[in-house]
């Protein structure tokens, strides 16, 4: 699944990033393979969505979230 499908309050582990012009920017913000990400707040129409990753809150548009392949995880690593 991709990150935009993750529902509010769910956790996931990032598997890979699809190619895009902002891939490097995502990596710089700490979004890359192996990192845990949590969906925390949704703007009107679920776009953009606010995620917690790399110890901070980052907002991504659905377009960007679609380029992030994730695996849902039930128990968050603390």
């Amino acid at each position: 699944m991709t990150l935009d499908e993750l529902k509010k309050g769910e956790f996931a582990i990032i598997e890979s990033l699809l190619s895009s012009s902002y891939k490097l920017k995502l990596v710089e913000m700490g979004i890359f393979k192996g990192r845990q990400i949590e969906s925390i707040e949704e703007a009107p129409f679920r776009d953009p969505i606010c995620y917690r990753v790399n110890n901070s809150k980052i907002m991504l548009r659905n377009e960007e979230a679609k380029s992030i392949v994730v695996r849902k995880c039930e128990n968050p690593l603390i």
Binding site: S20, K25, F32, P44, D47, I58
Partner: protein, 643 residues
């Protein structure tokens, strides 16, 4: 010897970098404008113990690979100049990400020191940093500060004065990462950046950059496992920032809260600003009449009272509103609420080719377009930024208000005057939206737009920061707009006081002056709109700043030097057009003029700001022409329909 120590401040956005800069330089800063490069870096020179320090605040960024115009400045400055020291500000509560940029900057082999900010926030999370171990791992000196409250600044000064600056001997970006490029024996991280800047952007280089960042993050994780410790009281407590955000970012309550905040902000802006504005207006008219009575009658006294003083007051009158606007902007930004507004509004703004980051510049346009246009720098996509800049002049800036008030009180019955003014505000917003929608369809781009933005924790803004920002904003407004308004009012005074008579240029009454000739020359063009030549002159003179319209009409209709508002209204209502023998100010001409002022880009300073921020004359000319055509056509159409 007194050599100047060149010091750069580098760090992530929201890491307390600007507050540190304000603490170090106090009021000794100057905002430097770099022509061509559409961004600013701030510099301040400080004298401490017989030693000069030139401190430069570079824009906040996350890595040395830039994503927007302001971030580009950082890598370019670091690669092309040789500072004596870099003060790196790190956010202790988000050390992980701060250290990413630190390791890149340290690898450039420039003397560096780390200022650790926001240690109190880390403490609230139940964690602390073993500073001595971190110093060893990073091979640099670390000073803990609270730059908002000014703690630790003295220790930092002691270090700066002793000048024991040192290059970190640890290299984080390992050579084998870049092995496939066969760069050369002397390979350094600096040569890698030079190589990247010279080469076309390609997938192989992008791949290496990503590998480099991930590799750095992995090293940072190891360092943090040694240095970041849990305190005894470590507990997992939901931060209050998160609690507020449950409502502030909520699709329904978030919008309600935002609208209320914006409402309060605008009430504040208009109601508070009007008092100092009226005060300034009054004191300038007192000064002018005093000079008129004291100075010997003559050209010089006229020049002083009719060109210089109105020119200066035309600049100063806007200062209260600009100061309040920046108070509001800095407050919204520093508290962290601005990022929440971006989050709530991005989806809507995108429909018009803009981004959530366009909201603040557009709102600021309701006070004055010039600082509003300058504040678009943070928008990372070129197209989104351009559309925002070009839409701002439609918003009802405060210079339109005197024109609107005068015309409305002539043509609209008293009960509907408030409603009329409100509709003009909505007309501004509505036309900005339509214009951006059209631009979005016209402007083509290959660039993918994206919004990857941090939502920082809520923080209490520091008053010192707010006031420094206000001071800088007012200063740059006086510099940019003041130049134009003053110059044009001097030129206009000359054109309005002199005329070509008996083969020489002479001081003549206004109706024989150059300006009157211009007014009569353009009369055929404005006649279809129902205007007489006097209005034509006022249209020309209001080019310096729109509110000049009012004073020009006052002079032209011979109302005397000190027009009382009531007598002015009466005289204007009684004006008869000699050609048609009908009153000049009817509902039709009034509405037509209102629409003209709503759409025409009658402001040289705004045009200059557009030129500066887009880097070319092209967009200034395009927006001037398109807005003028729109103004003329809507004025013509409304006049024809109503009359």
């Amino acid at each position: 010897m007194n050599t100047i120590q060149k010091i750069y401040l580098v760090g992530n956005p929201n890491s307390g970098k600007s507050s540190l800069f304000n603490q170090l330089t106090g009021l000794e800063q100057k905002v430097a404008n770099y022509p061509g490069v559409t961004t600013e870096k701030k510099t301040g020179v400080v004298l401490k113990q017989d030693q000069y320090f030139e401190i430069t605040d570079l824009p906040g960024c996350y890595s040395l690979y830039p994503n927007s115009i302001d971030e580009k400045v950082v890598s370019e400055t670091l690669l092309n100049t040789n500072p004596d020291l870099i003060i790196f500000t790190a956010d202790a509560s988000n050390l992980n990400r701060s250290l990413l940029l630190y390791t890149q900057v340290a690898d450039l082999k420039i003397p560096i020191i780390v200022v650790l900010n926001m240690v109190d926030e880390l403490d609230k999370k139940g964690e602390y940093i073993e500073t001595s171990i971190l110093e060893k791992e990073l091979d640099t000196k670390i000073i803990s500060c609270n730059s908002r409250k000014g703690k630790g600044i003295d220790t930092l000064w002691d270090f700066l004065i002793q000048k024991e600056y040192k290059i970190s001997q640890n290299t984080f970006g390992k050579k084998d990462l870049f092995a496939e490029y066969h760069l050369d024996e002397q390979f350094s991280y600096r040569t890698w950046h030079e190589y990247v800047n010279k080469s076309e952007k390609n997938a192989i280089i992008e791949n290496t950059k990503r590998k480099e960042i991930i590799n750095r993050y992995n090293q940072i994780e190891e360092i943090l496992s040694l240095t970041l410790k849990k305190t005894q009281k470590a507990f997992k407590q939901k931060m209050w920032s998160d609690r507020i955000d449950q409502y502030a970012l909520h699709p329904f309550w978030g919008i309600i809260a935002m609208l209320s905040i914006l409402y309060i902000v605008f009430q504040f802006l208009f109601y508070i600003a009007q008092y100092p504005m009226e005060g300034l207006d009054w004191s300038f008219s007192v000064i002018a009449s005093w000079l008129q009575n004291t100075l010997p009658k003559g050209l010089f006294s006229l020049f002083l009272t009719e060109a210089i003083i109105p020119g200066i007051s035309g600049v100063l009158i806007f200062i209260p509103q600009i100061a309040l606007l920046f108070f509001m902007n800095t407050w919204l930004e520093e508290s962290g609420y601005l990022a929440r507004m971006v989050f709530l509004l991005d989806r809507w703004m995108r429909k018009f080719g803009m981004s959530g980051k366009s909201v603040l510049p557009l709102l600021s346009g309701n006070a004055c377009a010039i600082p509003a246009i300058a504040s678009t720098k943070t928008i990372s996509t070129h197209k989104e930024r351009l559309i925002t800049i070009l839409s701002i002049p439609f918003m009802t800036c405060s210079a339109r208000l005197p024109v609107y008030t005068l015309l409305i009180s002539i043509i609209i019955p008293i009960n509907y005057q408030g409603l009329a003014l409100l509709s003009l505000y909505f007309l501004g917003i509505f036309s900005a939206i339509i214009f951006s929608f059209v631009l979005n369809k016209i402007i083509k781009t290959n660039e993918t737009s994206f919004l990857i933005m941090e939502i920082p924790p809520y923080r209490w803004p520091s008053m010192k920061n707010i006031f420094t920002n206000i001071r800088n904003a007012v200063k740059s407004f006086v510099k940019v707009a003041g130049k134009f308004i003053l110059t044009i009012s001097i030129i206009l005074w000359f054109l309005a006081s002199f005329g070509y008579q008996e083969k020489t240029i002479k001081n003549v009454p206004l109706e024989n002056s150059f300006v009157a000739h211009i007014g009569k020359f353009i009369e055929p063009a404005i006649e279809p709109l129902g205007y007489d030549w006097q209005i034509g002159v006022a249209l020309v003179t209001s080019f310096a700043a729109r509110e000049v319209f009012v004073s020009t009409l006052g002079t032209l209709y011979n109302i005397g030097a000190e027009p009382d508002e009531n007598t002015m209204l009466q005289t204007m209502k009684l004006q008869i057009n000699p050609k048609t023998n009908t009153p000049v100010f009817t509902l039709a001409t009034g509405i037509s003029l209102l629409l003209f002022y709503a759409f025409a880009l009658q402001c040289m300073s705004t045009l200059a700001a557009i030129r500066k921020e887009t880097g070319t004359y092209k967009w200034a000319i395009i927006s001037f022409i398109s807005m003028s055509i729109l103004a003329y056509l809507s004025a013509l159409l409304s006049y024809k329909i109503i009359s």
